[in-house]
Amino acid sequence: MPDSMSTSSTYDVIIVGSGAGGGMAAYNLTKAGAKCLMLEAGGWYDAAKDSKWLEWQYNAPHRGGGDYTSPMNYFLAADGGWQVPGEPYLNARGTDWMWFRARMLGGRTNSWGRISLRNGPYDFKPYDRYGNGFNWPIGYEDLAPYYDRTEELIGVFGSKEGLENLPDGKFLPPPAPRCYELLLQQASRKLHIPCIPSRLAVLTRPLNGRPECHYVSQCGRACRMGSNFSSPVVLLLPARETGNLEIRTGAMAREILTGPDGRATGVSYIDKKTRKEVQVHGKVVVLAASSCETARLLLNSRSSRFPDGLANSSGMVGKYLMDTVMSTVSGFLPKLMDLPPHNCDGVGGMHLYMPWWGYQESVRRTLPFSRGYHIEISGSRQGMPMPGVLSGTQKLVGGGYGESLKENCRKLYGSFVTLSGRGEMIPNENSYCEVDNNVVDQWGIPVLKFHFQWGEQELRMARHMQETFQEIIHTAGGEVVQSYGAEQRWGISEGGQGIHEVGGVRMGDNPKDSVLNAHCQAWDCKNLFVADGAPFVGLANKNPTLTILAMAWRTSDYIADQVKKGNV
C-alpha cells in the first residue's frame, strides 16, 4: 500500500510519474542508494490482484465491450482513456489532438502493446540522412549499451536479422507464428517486403523470477503472472525492495519549486483525497509524467525568475510535439474461412511484423516521402471474440438473416486480417502544446491546449501505406474490406491517436533551441531532469517505449554519477 505522507524530510530524488521512464529512474536510483519519492497522479494498481486475466467476456458488463480505448472496455488495464473526468484539455481550431492518459501506478505500461524496437543509427541523425527534421545530440552508440541492459532486464523476444537500421537486441526466442501470419508472410515475401518475428516485451522463457507467458493474448489486461513488462512489476517492485522508494498515489503534480539560485527544490502537488497542496523537497527532480504532462508541469512552474515557465529560456517547452503516422487497411482472406478450430491466441500482440524496407529507395529518392514505416498485422481469430466480432457481414455475404447468416458467420470467423502502418513523422513547428490560463482542471491547474498538423510528407506516407497494404491483401488472395482514399486523407490517424506522443521538452546541443542537454538535464536548471518521451528529438517508426526505458536508464546513471561528483 502507498506509504504514509511525510513532508518534513528532504529526499535525494523526487520522481514525478511511475510509468516506463519514472519506473526506470526509480529502479536505478534506489539501487544506487538514493532515497526517492515517487509521485503518481492516479491510484494504486497491482496486476496480480487487479488484472482481469482469464475472465470471460460474457461475464463482464457489456461483454467487456467498447473499442480498445473506450471507457466501456472492462478489460483494458487503463484507468482513464481519451478523456479523464475533471481533467480536460483543449484543442486549437483545426486540431483534433487525442490525448490518452492512464491515471494509475505504472501508467500506460500496464496496458501497452509491448512492441519493443530499437531506434537505429539513422533514427538519431535524420537531418544528416534526409535533410529534414533534427539530429539528436546522441547517437545509436550512446544508447546501445542501455538497450542491451534494458532488454536483459525486461525480457524482449525477437530474432537476429541483421537488417538495415533495425539493430538486433538481446532477445528471448520468438513465439511460432499464427496461421494467418504465415499467409501474410508468404504474400509479403512475394512483394519483397520483409516479414520477421516481432519484438515484444513478453517472456517466452522465465526471466528474473517471472514466469513464461501463458499465451492467452491478454497483455492489454495487464498480466496477473507478470510475464510481460510493466513498470510496477518489473521496476517498482525491486525498487521498493531496496527500502529507498516511497510512492505517493493520488498526487497530482502542480509545479516544480525553485530556490533563489534557480535550482529546483522540490515539487508542489495537490493531494487528490484532501484537495490540499503538499510541498515535497528533494535535491534532484526527475520528470516522467508523460511527454505532455511534463511540458505542462514546466510551463506551469512560473515565477518572477522564470516568467515563461521553468527551463524555458529557449521558448522550446511544448514545441515539436510528435505522434506516429497511422493508417489501416482490413481485408478478407477466403483461405482463412472455415478452418479447423485451433487456438490462435498466442501472446497479446503480433508474432510477425514487417519492418521498413525502403531505406535504399529513400536514398535514391524514388519514394514520394522521406522516412519510413513498419507494418503491424492482426487477425480476427486471435484472442477472445469481443463485441464487434463479425460485424459488417453484409459487405461480404450481401446481408441476410436466419440460418444461412448463422452458418455464414461460422465460416467467416477468423478470416479477416488488418494491416496497420506505424510511420515516422517529421517534427514541425505547427505541432505543439501550450498552457491556457483561462481553463483549469478540477485541481486548479491550468490545462494544455494542443496545436497539431500533419505535413504533406505524412499524408504521402499514409497513401503509400494504403496502396501497399491493399497490394499485400490482394497478393494473399484476399479482398479489401476497408480502405481509405484521398477524400479521407488516406485514413491518416488523428494526432495523438497513436498514443506515441513524444517531444515537447527536447534535448539538444544548444541551449538556444533545446530544453535539455544530451543527458536530459535542463540547461536552465542543473538538478532537473526529464526521463519520459518528452526529450525525443524525432520519432522513428519504432514504438517509443523501449527507447524511453533505455534513455531513462542512461539519464539516471548520469544523475548518480553527477551526485557522486558533487555536480548537482
Binding site: 465491450g65 478450430p341 463485441p387 457481414t393 450481401g398 447468416l405 448463422k406 461460422r410
Partner: protein, 209 residues
C-alpha cells in the same frame, strides 16, 4: 447439440470437436500439471448463470420495443442443430445494455428503425411488426436485409438493419453459447506455444520454411 450428420466434411470435423468439447469439463482443456494448479490460483472465479429474461428490467427499451427486439434477434440468429437462438443467449438484454452506455446516435438509429418496422408493417398488414405472422415479418425484413437489392426509399431502414444485424451477431458470438458455436478454443493457459497446427498449415497449403 444433436448428432445429425449432414453437410461437408469440415462441418463434421467441427461438430466432432464440439461434441468432444461438450463432453469435457472446461478444466480438462488446460494441461494437468503443477503448472495448471499455479495458474488456477490466479484464475478468477466464473460468475453464475445470468440473463434471466423473466426478471430483466430494460434500461432503454419500452416493453413493446424489447418484444420486437427479441423477435428480430431470433429471426437474425435462430436456433439450429449447433446452438441456441440469439434470445436464449441473452442478446436482447445485451443490446439494451449496450445502447444504454454507447455514445453517439446508435440508440436513435435502432429505436427509429423499430418505428419504421411497425410503420411498414401497419401499412402493409395493419398490424405492428411483432403481431404479424412470421411469414409477413419475413416479407418486411426481406425488403431491408439485402442492401444491394433494397429499394432506394428503404435505404435508411437498410442502415438500421445492418446495425441491428451487427449487434445481434456481436451479442451472440460473445455469449457463452456463441463462443462454443464458433468455436473459440482459446482463453486456456498454455504451457508452451506451438504456433499454427499442422492440420491447418496443410489446409492452407503452407509448407514449412
Amino acid at each position: 447439440m444433436e448428432k445429425k450428420s449432414s453437410g461437408s466434411g469440415v462441418r463434421l470435423e467441427r461438430r466432432n470437436i464440439l461434441k468432444l468439447m461438450a463432453t469435457l469439463p472446461a478444466a480438462a482443456l488446460a494441461p494437468v500439471t503443477p503448472f495448471a494448479s499455479s495458474v488456477a490460483m490466479a484464475m478468477p472465479q466464473e460468475a453464475g448463470a445470468q440473463n434471466d429474461a423473466a426478471v430483466y428490467q430494460p434500461k432503454v427499451f419500452h416493453p413493446h420495443e424489447l418484444r420486437t427486439i427479441r423477435i428480430l434477434s431470433d429471426m437474425i440468429l435462430p436456433a439450429d442443430e449447433r446452438s441456441c437462438s440469439a434470445s436464449e443467449a441473452g442478446v436482447p438484454e445485451f443490446i439494451d445494455g449496450w445502447l444504454h452506455v454507447k455514445q453517439g446516435n446508435l440508440l436513435d438509429e435502432i429505436r427509429g428503425g423499430l418505428t419504421w418496422l411497425d410503420m411498414a408493417s401497419n401499412r402493409s398488414f395493419q398490424f405492428d411488426f411483432a403481431d404479424c405472422s412470421i411469414q409477413r415479418q419475413k416479407q418486411i425484413l426481406d425488403r431491408i436485409a439485402y442492401p444491394e437489392k433494397a429499394a432506394p426509399e428503404d435505404a435508411s431502414a437498410v442502415v438500421f438493419f445492418n446495425s441491428l444485424r451487427d449487434l445481434v451477431v456481436s451479442g451472440f458470438f460473445t455469449s457463452r453459447q456463441g463462443i462454443r458455436d464458433l468455436p473459440y478454443v482459446g482463453n486456456q493457459p498454455q504451457q508452451q506455444w506451438t504456433g499454427c497446427p499442422p492440420q491447418v498449415r496443410a489446409k492452407l497449403g503452407l509448407v514449412d520454411s
